[in-house]
């Protein structure tokens, strides 16, 4: 569901507003007979698109791994399972932290220009 909505809603920037409702009705939505619900769906889908997927997923993984570790250790605190579970928590926490930093450090224009230096917005002129 999330993927479908992100595809349909990312184009509205280039497409005139009048076309929007038509595009949305084209995507599968059982709520279209109720126009008041449609606007709610629209808003909800728009909100969903703004959120990026990678940090969320890793954050979920971190939270899940912590629960898993607490469970594994409640049975036997010195077992290999318990230790391996906390190691997983550490690995995921470190990865989450890395991804956060990477995201904070990345500039969309710089990232685009690194791969496409010949495009108009990326050309540099040195006299």
């Amino acid at each position: 569901m999330a993927t479908i909505s992100s595809i349909s809603l990312s184009t509205p920037r280039a497409v005139p507003k009048s076309a929007e409702p038509q595009k949305l009705s084209a995507s599968a939505s059982p709520q279209l007979n109720y126009p008041w619900r449609r606007s709610c769906q629209l808003a909800a889908r728009r909100r969903m698109v703004v959120v990026s997927s990678a940090p969320d997923k890793i954050e979920d993984k971190v939270a899940e791994s912590i629960k898993g570790a607490e469970e594994a250790c409640s049975d036997n605190p010195v077992s290999g399972e318990c230790v391996a579970a906390w190691d997983e928590v550490e690995e995921l926490s470190a990865t989450a932290s890395h991804l956060r930093d990477k995201k904070a450090a990345s500039d969309p224009l710089e990232a685009y220009c690194k791969d496409n230096p010949e495009t108009a917005e990326c050309r540099t002129y040195e006299d």
Binding site: A63, E64, C73, V83, A85, W86, D87, E91, H98, D101
Partner: protein, 375 residues
């Protein structure tokens, strides 16, 4: 376990080793390997190091986006996590941590590091930290300087013998705890208890397999809580010790004022004004795991540029190419964690020492064939 920077906190313990090929007689094919442990390729130490050599280190273009490798003009940094023999699921099933040697393929590590040192390209596996799986391998071309960083760079004797220089980043428990709190408290699901539990659970493996590697390192950067503020437990002001082994080929330890003597120095006074809690340096010979070492220690923080240049002007054997190079490097990366204390300072100095080592090795290799032709 990785290099410590407060914000990134990736690796709280790092070991770094450098090696150059000794058997080949190619004067221009020098390889050095530096090992760090834990934080793969994204650590501040690596960024400072690659910056000293020039150029920015980037992940391989067009490859796996989750690759841990960093490549610059002269240097390639490889993460030893790529040599995990067990992926996350495998480790869970067997009940072993990533710190356990059973989770790592030391034979492959040795083979590939040796091959790269000999000038051959290798297909190195990729351990994907996001998915926890082992991804298809990536081709690594042999670089001039090879840096290997991770948990076990000095664990296997064969790998250890390939290294030209090794560094271990030793973070004390209190500082590690403070840093992990800063890193993880914002993370949903984490609490003080879970952070503590994670550290405690990993301690036995850490002390059994990782910590002992520091005795083999040529340089150890030890990060401890400050002694300038009694009862400080915030971990913001740090006391950092640069422990340098004596007698290592091509490595001349940094010293303060008089080599081999014991010095205690507070630069703040009439000529230099510092804000609380100030800066304190000590230098002197010590013994570390039965080796003779020289230890340069900095406690406190830099607040201003002139403090940094003042300190630099009083240190000797820095291997800088011009006056103020240390300060310039620190300023270049002033946004990096540790830029105002001993961690940044000593990481930068070690980077310059490694450059000096590399140049000496290169020069000696170039001289050797000439001597052979003379004889």
């Amino acid at each position: 376990m990785a290099v410590s920077t407060v914000y990134t906190t990736q690796s709280f313990h790092s070991t770094c080793s450098i090696s150059t090929p000794s058997k080949t007689h190619l004067g221009f094919n020098q390889k050095k390997q530096i090992l760090f442990y834990n934080s793969c390729g994204k650590s501040t130490f690596m960024r400072r190091l690659t910056s000293v050599f020039g150029g920015a280190a980037e992940p391989p273009k067009g490859g796996n986006p989750d690759s841990n490798t960093l490549i610059s003009d002269t240097t390639t940094v490889i993460c030893l996590d790529d040599y995990h023999s067990l992926d996350r699921t495998g480790r869970k099933e067997k009940g072993v941590t990533a710190l356990d040697p059973r989770a790592n393929d030391f034979d492959l590590m040795y083979e590939q590091v040796k091959a790269m040192k000999e000038g051959k390209a290798v297909d190195k596996p990729i351990y994907n930290h996001v998915t926890g799986l082992l991804d298809p391998p990536e081709l690594i071309k042999p670089p001039k300087i090879l840096v290997i960083e991770g948990l076990h760079p000095m664990f296997d004797q064969r790998v250890r013998d390939l290294l030209d220089f090794s560094i271990y980043l030793d973070i004390s428990n209190e500082v590690k705890f403070a840093w992990k709190i800063q890193r993880d408290m914002a993370e949903r699901g984490h609490s003080l208890e879970s952070i503590k539990a994670s550290i405690e659970a990993r301690k036995p493996d850490f002390e059994a397999y990782i910590d002992p590697q520091k005795q083999y390192a040529d340089a150890v950067i030890e990060v401890l809580p400050t002694q300038l503020i009694p009862g400080d437990n915030e971990g913001k002001i740090l006391r950092v010790r640069l422990i340098m082994k004596e007698g290592v080929k091509y490595f001349n330890p940094v010293y303060l004022f008089d080599e081999g003597s014991t010095i205690s120095w507070i630069p703040c006074g009439r000529k230099l004004t510092c804000s609380y809690p100030g800066i304190k340096f000590t230098y002197g010979p010590e013994s570390y795991f039965g080796h003779e070492v020289s230890v340069l220690e900095m406690d406190g923080q830099f607040d201003r540029l002139d403090e940094l240049i003042y300190v630099e002007s009083h240190l000797s054997n820095l291997s800088t190419k011009f006056y103020g190079e240390v300060t310039q490097q620190m300023l270049k990366h002033s946004e990096f964690p540790g830029s105002n204390n001993g961690t940044g300072l000593f990481q930068t100095i070690v980077g310059l020492k490694i450059r000096d080592l590399y140049e000496q090795i290169t020069a000696s290799k170039a001289a050797a064939p000439l001597q052979a032709t003379k004889a």
